[in-house]
C-alpha cells in the first residue's frame, strides 16, 4: 500500500496527464454527440463578444459585395409584391383571409463566427432566446440554405453548418420531386452529397436541388444547388448525387433564421401518432 502511494507521488505528472487528457477527450466525445450546451453558453460569453467586435471591423472589406447582394434580394422581393403582379382575378365572392396563413417567419441575423475547414463546422449568430429563437430552426442565406440551429443562449445561437458530418437535410429534385437526404461527406465546402434518390428517377447534371419541405425546419422549394455529377454505388438501388452548393459558406455575413409558426401543431400531431 505504501509502495503504491509512493509510486503515485513520484509519478504524479503521469496521473495529472491522464486526468487532463481524460477531461479533454471527454469534451471531444461529448461534443461529437451533440454540440455541448454548457460549453457553448459559458464560452460564448467571452469569445462571442470579442468575435462580434472583430467581425464588425472585418465587415468593411465586404461592404460593397454585401450591398450588391442585398440590392439583388430587394429586387427579387419587389417582384413578389402584389403590386408587381398582374391581377387575373375577375370575381371575388368571399374573401377568405385564412387561405394564405403565414407559416414561416424569417429573422435576419448576423454571422458572428463561422468555420469551414473542420470536420464539424458550426456557425454562431447574434440572435438568441431573447429574440425568440428556438433550437431546430432552419437557417438560410441569401443564396440558399446554411444550417440548423442547435443551441440557443440569451443573445446568441449556434447552428450546425451544412458542412457538418451530422447534417442531414431532406432535399428534392425541383423538376420531379424525388427526394433524399443531403449530407456533407467530402472536405470540400462547396460540394455535398444527395443520397437515396431511386435509380428509376430521371436526373441529369445541372438539375436544381431544392428543400423538400418535408421537415418542419425549412419551407419547401428553397434553392440548395445544382447537380455536379451522378453515380450509383455498386450494390445499391439508389443514386449518389454530388451537389454544387449555390451558397458560398466561406463568405457568409448575414443569414435568416426560419421559424415555423405551426411547429407545435405538427409536433403534437406526431406525438399523438406515436402514442397510439
Amino acid at each position: 500500500m505504501r509502495d503504491l502511494i509512493n509510486y503515485i507521488v513520484k509519478n504524479n505528472s503521469l496521473f495529472l496527464f491522464l486526468l487532463l487528457e481524460g477531461i479533454a477527450l471527454y469534451l471531444v466525445v461529448q461534443y461529437n454527440r451533440h454540440p455541448n450546451q454548457i460549453w457553448f453558453s459559458t464560452t460564448g460569453v467571452f469569445s462571442g463578444a470579442l468575435m462580434e467586435k472583430y467581425d464588425e471591423a472585418k465587415q468593411f472589406v465586404y461592404l460593397s459585395e454585401v450591398a450588391k447582394e442585398l440590392a439583388d434580394n430587394n429586387a427579387k422581393l419587389y417582384e413578389k409584391l402584389d403590386a408587381s403582379r398582374f391581377d387575373n382575378l375577375v370575381v371575388i365572392d368571399s374573401a377568405n383571409v385564412d387561405v394564405f396563413k403565414q407559416q414561416y417567419t424569417f429573422m435576419s441575423a448576423k454571422v458572428v463566427d463561422n468555420s469551414i475547414n473542420l470536420n464539424n463546422n458550426t456557425i454562431r449568430l447574434n440572435r438568441g432566446r431573447k429574440h425568440g429563437i428556438k433550437p431546430h430552426s432552419g437557417v438560410i442565406g441569401n443564396n440558399g440554405i446554411v444550417g440548423i440551429i442547435t443551441d440557443v443562449s440569451e443573445n446568441y445561437s449556434i447552428a450546425l453548418s451544412l458542412l457538418h458530418r451530422q447534417t442531414n437535410i431532406s432535399c428534392a429534385l425541383s423538376k420531379n420531386g424525388y427526394f433524399g437526404a443531403l449530407r456533407w461527406e467530402s472536405n470540400n465546402p462547396q460540394k455535398m452529397i444527395l443520397n437515396d434518390i431511386p435509380k428509376h428517377a430521371d436526373v441529369a447534371v445541372g438539375d436544381s436541388i431544392v428543400t423538400s419541405g418535408y421537415s418542419d425546419m425549412f419551407p419547401g422549394g428553397v434553392y440548395v444547388g445544382a447537380i455536379d455529377s451522378i453515380w450509383v454505388r455498386p450494390g445499391s438501388g439508389a443514386y449518389k448525387i454530388q451537389v454544387h452548393l449555390s451558397n458560398d459558406l466561406s463568405r457568409l455575413q448575414y443569414a435568416y433564421i426560419v421559424s415555423n409558426l405551426m411547429k407545435e401543431e405538427i409536433e403534437t400531431l406526431e406525438a399523438q401518432v406515436s402514442d397510439e
Binding site: L16, Y31, P189
Partner: protein
C-alpha cells in the same frame, strides 16, 4: 525570474490573438484542397524553460488548449493535443540533449541552443502536435489518409510561420 513570466504572458497574449484573429480565417488551400490549417500557438509550449515543473507544464498546456478551443468552437480537441505535447516534451528534450547537457534554467530557444538544434526540436514537437490534433479531430484512424494529408500540409505552413516568428522576435527565454 519575473521577466521570464512577463515574457511568457506577453507571448501568450500576442500569439493567441494572432492565432484566433488572423490564422483561424486563412483558407490557404482554397475550396479544392481544404487540408491546410495554420497553427502558431503550439510554440508557446516549446519555449518554456527546460526545468519547468512537469505538472505546471501540463496545466499550462491544458489551459492554452482550452483558450484556443473556445475560439475554434472545438471543445477538448486543442486541449488534448496540448496536454499530450506537454507530456512528451521532457522525453524529447532528453533525446535531443547536447553533449554538455542543458543549462536547466534556460529555455530551449534558438538564441540559447542554435538554429539547427532548435529547428529539429521544433519539427519533432510540431509534427507530434499536429498529428495528435488531427487524429482527435477525426476521432478514428479510418480517416488516416486525410489525417496524414492534413498533418503534412499544415505542418509545412505552420513550420514556416513559427520559423518566421522565432527568427523575427528571437526570444532569449
Amino acid at each position: 525570474m519575473s521577466s521570464l513570466i512577463l515574457n511568457n504572458i506577453f507571448r501568450f497574449v500576442v500569439l493567441v490573438l494572432i492565432q484566433v484573429l488572423l490564422l483561424k480565417d486563412l483558407e490557404l488551400g482554397g475550396t479544392n484542397f481544404n487540408y491546410i490549417q495554420v497553427y502558431v500557438y503550439p510554440v508557446l509550449l516549446f519555449l518554456l524553460p527546460v526545468n519547468i515543473n512537469r505538472s505546471y507544464l501540463l496545466l499550462y498546456g491544458f489551459f492554452l488548449g482550452l483558450v484556443i478551443d473556445m475560439f475554434y468552437g472545438s471543445p477538448g480537441m486543442h486541449a488534448s493535443a496540448c496536454v499530450f505535447v506537454a507530456y512528451v516534451r521532457q522525453v524529447i528534450l532528453r533525446g535531443l540533449e547536447p553533449r554538455g547537457g542543458y543549462n536547466e534554467s534556460y529555455s530551449p530557444t534558438k538564441y540559447r541552443m542554435g538554429v539547427t538544434w532548435f529547428l529539429r526540436y521544433m519539427a519533432i514537437m510540431l509534427g507530434i502536435h499536429l498529428f495528435f490534433f488531427f487524429s482527435v479531430e477525426a476521432f478514428s484512424f479510418a480517416y488516416l489518409q486525410s489525417i496524414l494529408l492534413k498533418t503534412i500540409s499544415s505542418f509545412i505552413i505552420s513550420f514556416i510561420v513559427i520559423g518566421i516568428y522565432v527568427f523575427i522576435s528571437n526570444p532569449k527565454d
